[in-house]
Amino acid sequence: MKIALLSLLVLLSLSFAAPLIIPPVILPSANWQTPAILAAFAALGVLLILYLLGFFFDSAEMRTLARQEMWQVFVTMFFIVFFIALEAYSSSTLSSAFSDVFGGAVGNHVDFALKVSQDLSDKQWESLSALSKSLTIPLGSMASASGTCNIMGSSFSYTGCGGIQVPFASLTFATNALVSAMLVNNSQTFLIQLASSFFFPVLLPIGLFFRCFQFTRGAGGLLIAIAVGFYFIYPFSVILTWGMAKKAADTAGIPAYGPEAGDYPSFDYPVEMFAKSFDTFEIKSECNPLDMDPKAARHESERLTGDSGDSLVDPLVYQFFIEGLFTTMLNLLITLTAIRGLASIFGAEVDISGLARIS
C-alpha cells in the first residue's frame, strides 16, 4: 500500500511536466480545464504526503484525516467534470436554444452575452448621439438666442426663445440618465470579460485546490462560488433579461428609436464670429426672438410630448431605463444572490454584501 502510494506521488509530479497549453494572453476562450485538473492533482498529492506522514509519525488520526479529505478530491473532480459538461452543454444546446427563442448570436454563453451587451451599448450610443445632435443641442442653442436693438447707446434685449430652456433642461436630465445607463452597460461588458479571463480560469482552480482541505474549505468555496457565479450565472442572466426585455418590447409595441427628420427643430449654426451682412440681423431658426412669438417654447416642448413623442420618448425610456439600467442591476443582483447560495453549498461562510453594495 505504502509503495503504491509513493509511486503515485512520484507519478503525480509528471502531470505538471505537461507542455503548457494555456495561450500566452488569457482571453475569453481561456483554457481553465488544465489548471483545474492540476489543482485537483496537487491537492491529492498534498493529502498523500499527509497520509504517508501519518505512517511516519505513527499517527492514526493523521491518516484518518487524510483519508477523509481525499473524498473531497473526488468531489472536486466531480465538480470539474460537471463544469466541463455545463460549458459544453451551454455551447452546444443552451446558447442555440436562447438564440432560437430570442434571436441573436450563436456561440457559447459568454460570447453570446458579450455580443448582447456590446450590441446594446452600440444601440444606446446611436440613439443618444442622434438625440443629442438632432434635438438636444439645437434646442439648447436655439434657447440662447436673443434679439438686441441698439440705438444711440441705448439697447433693448429680448430673450424670446428663453422658454425653450425648459424642454432643454428636461433633455439634459435625460441625457445624464442615458449616459449613466451606458456606463452601467459598458461595465457589464467588462465584467463578463473579467469573469472569462480572470475569475473562471484563475480563481476556480485555486478555489478547487483550497476546497480539498478542511481548514481552507470556506475560502475555496467562496472562490468557486464567485467564479461559477460570474462565469455561468451572470452571462445567462444577461442573455435572459435581454431576451425578456426584447420580447416585452415586441409585445408592448414599443417602436424603435427613430424620429423623422421633420420631428427635429431646424436651427442654422452661425459659426462665424461676426455677422457679415445685413442679412444676419436674424438667424435661420424655428425660433427667432425678433418675432416675439409667445408660443415658441410651447411648440418646441411639444416635440417631446406631442405626436413625435411616441417614436422619441417611449423607445428611449425603454432602451435606457429597462434595457440599460434595470436589467443590468437585475443581472448583478441575480448573480450575487446565486453566489451567496452557491457559497453556502460549497462550504463558504463569508459575507459578500460588499460586492452587492457597488451595484
Binding site: 448621439s129 443641442i137 439648447g140 439634459t172 445624464n176 472562490l223
Partner: protein
C-alpha cells in the same frame, strides 16, 4: 526608528524567549508552592510557544517569498506568472520587469491602473472643458462689418453651440466616477505601502507573546491571521490579477470612433501622446486649424461630422473599464482578504472579522 525585516527575526526570537521565561517562572512558582496546576500549565503552554515560533517563521518565510524582505534568498517574481500569461508584459506605465518581486509587480500594476484611471479623469475633464467652452461661445451681430460695425450690434445674439452644455453635466458625472476610480487605486497603492512598511510589522513578535498566554491566545491567533492575510494574500491577489486582467488590452480591442480603437481615441483626445490637438480650440473661430479632433462646427452638415461629441462613446467605455478595474476589483480583493483572514484565524483557534474593511471602498 524604522523596523527592518531583518530585525523581525531577532524580535521574534526575543519574544519567544520572553514567553519561554514566563513559562519557566510559572513552572518555578508551581514547584516552589508545590502546586501542580502551575507546572502542568507551564508544560502545556511551552508547546504553544513552539507552535507560535513555527508559525512566525513560516510567516517570515512567506514574507520573503513575496519579496517584502529584500534579504530573502528565495522569492517569487513576475517570471512565475509570465509562464502562464504575457499579461504583465503589456504594461508600460511603468513597465513590469520579469525579475520584479510580488510587491514590486503589485505596486507597478496598481500604478498602471492609476495611470489608466487618471486618463479617464483627464478625458472626462477635457470633455467638460471643451463642452463648457463651446457652449459659451457667443456670436454677436456686427453690422455692417465693412463699416466697422457703425450700426452697432443690432440683430440676434446667439450662442450657437450652447446646446453643448448638455454634455457638461454628463462629463461631470464621468469625472465623478473616474475620480472615484482613481482615488480607489491610489488607496490600494497606499494600502500596499502600509502593509510593506507599516505598523503591522510589529504584530508578528507581539503575536508570539500573546499566543503564549492562555487568555490572550485568541488575540494572538487573530493577529497572526491578519498578518498572513495582509502580507501574503492581498499582494498575491494583485500579483495574479496583473497577469490575467489588463484593461488596456480590453479597451484596445474595443472599437472607438474614426476607425481607431478606444485606447487610441483616448490617447488622441486627452493629448497625453498628442498634445497638439488641444490647440484646435481655435477651430471654433477660424475653422482653419488642423488637428480637427475638437471640431464642433460641422453639426449642420447632416449632424455627422462632430468629432468631439462622438468622443463621448469611447470616453464612456473607458470610464466603465476604469471603474471596474479599480473599485470592483478592490472590493473583490478585500472580500478575499476577509475570507483568508477568517480561514487563518479559525486554523489558529480564533475568530477574525475584517468585513468592515470593505467599507473603505
Amino acid at each position: 526608528m524604522a523596523i527592518t525585516w531583518g530585525d523581525m527575526y531577532s524580535l521574534s526570537m526575543l519574544s519567544a524567549a520572553v514567553a519561554a521565561i514566563m513559562m519557566g517562572l510559572a513552572y518555578a512558582i508551581g514547584r516552589m508552592f508545590d502546586n501542580p496546576k502551575f507546572t502542568v500549565w507551564a508544560k502545556t503552554e511551552i508547546f504553544q510557544v513552539a507552535a507560535s515560533i513555527v508559525m512566525v517563521f513560516l510567516a517570515l518565510f512567506l514574507v520573503g517569498l513575496v519579496g517584502l524582505d529584500s534579504s530573502a534568498s528565495f522569492s517569487m517574481d513576475a517570471g512565475w506568472i509570465n509562464a502562464y500569461s504575457s499579461g504583465t508584459a503589456a504594461y508600460a506605465h511603468p513597465a513590469i520587469k520579469t525579475d520584479d518581486n510580488v510587491f514590486q509587480v503589485s505596486e507597478k500594476y496598481l500604478q498602471n491602473m492609476a495611470y489608466f484611471s487618471h486618463q479617464a479623469v483627464r478625458g472626462s475633464r477635457a470633455m467638460l472643458g471643451a463642452m463648457d467652452e463651446f457652449s459659451k461661445y457667443t456670436r454677436t451681430p456686427c453690422v455692417p462689418p465693412w463699416l466697422m460695425c457703425l450700426m452697432g450690434v443690432n440683430g440676434v445674439n446667439v450662442r450657437p453651440l450652447a446646446g453643448g452644455a448638455v454634455f457638461v453635466q454628463t462629463s461631470n458625472l464621468m469625472l465623478y466616477s473616474s475620480t472615484t476610480a482613481y482615488l480607489t487605486v491610489l488607496a490600494q497603492i497606499f494600502f500596499l505601502k502600509f502593509i510593506q512598511s507599516g505598523l503591522v510589522v510589529a504584530y508578528l513578535p507581539m503575536a508570539i507573546v500573546l499566543r503564549s498566554l492562555p487568555f490572550m491566545r485568541q488575540a494572538g491567533g487573530a493577529l497572526l491571521a491578519i498578518c498572513f492575510s495582509l502580507f501574503i494574500v492581498f499582494p498575491l491577489l494583485v500579483f495574479v490579477e496583473s497577469a490575467f486582467w489588463n484593461p488596456y488590452d480590453w479597451v484596445a480591442s474595443s472599437t472607438g470612433v474614426g476607425g481607431k480603437n478606444v485606447l487610441e481615441n483616448m490617447n488622441d483626445f486627452v493629448g497625453i501622446e498628442g498634445k497638439e490637438s488641444q490647440l484646435a480650440y481655435g477651430d471654433l473661430f477660424f475653422g482653419t486649424v488642423s488637428g480637427a479632433d475638437w471640431v464642433f462646427k460641422d453639426i449642420p452638415e447632416g449632424y455627422s461630422g462632430n468629432k468631439t461629441i462622438d468622443y463621448n462613446q469611447p470616453l464612456i467605455m473607458f470610464n466603465a473599464a476604469a471603474f471596474l478595474s479599480s473599485v470592483f476589483m478592490f472590493t473583490f480583493n478585500i472580500t478575499a482578504v476577509t475570507a483568508a483572514a477568517s480561514v487563518f484565524a479559525r486554523l489558529l483557534g480564533s475568530e477574525v472579522d475584517l468585513s468592515r474593511l470593505v467599507q473603505i471602498v
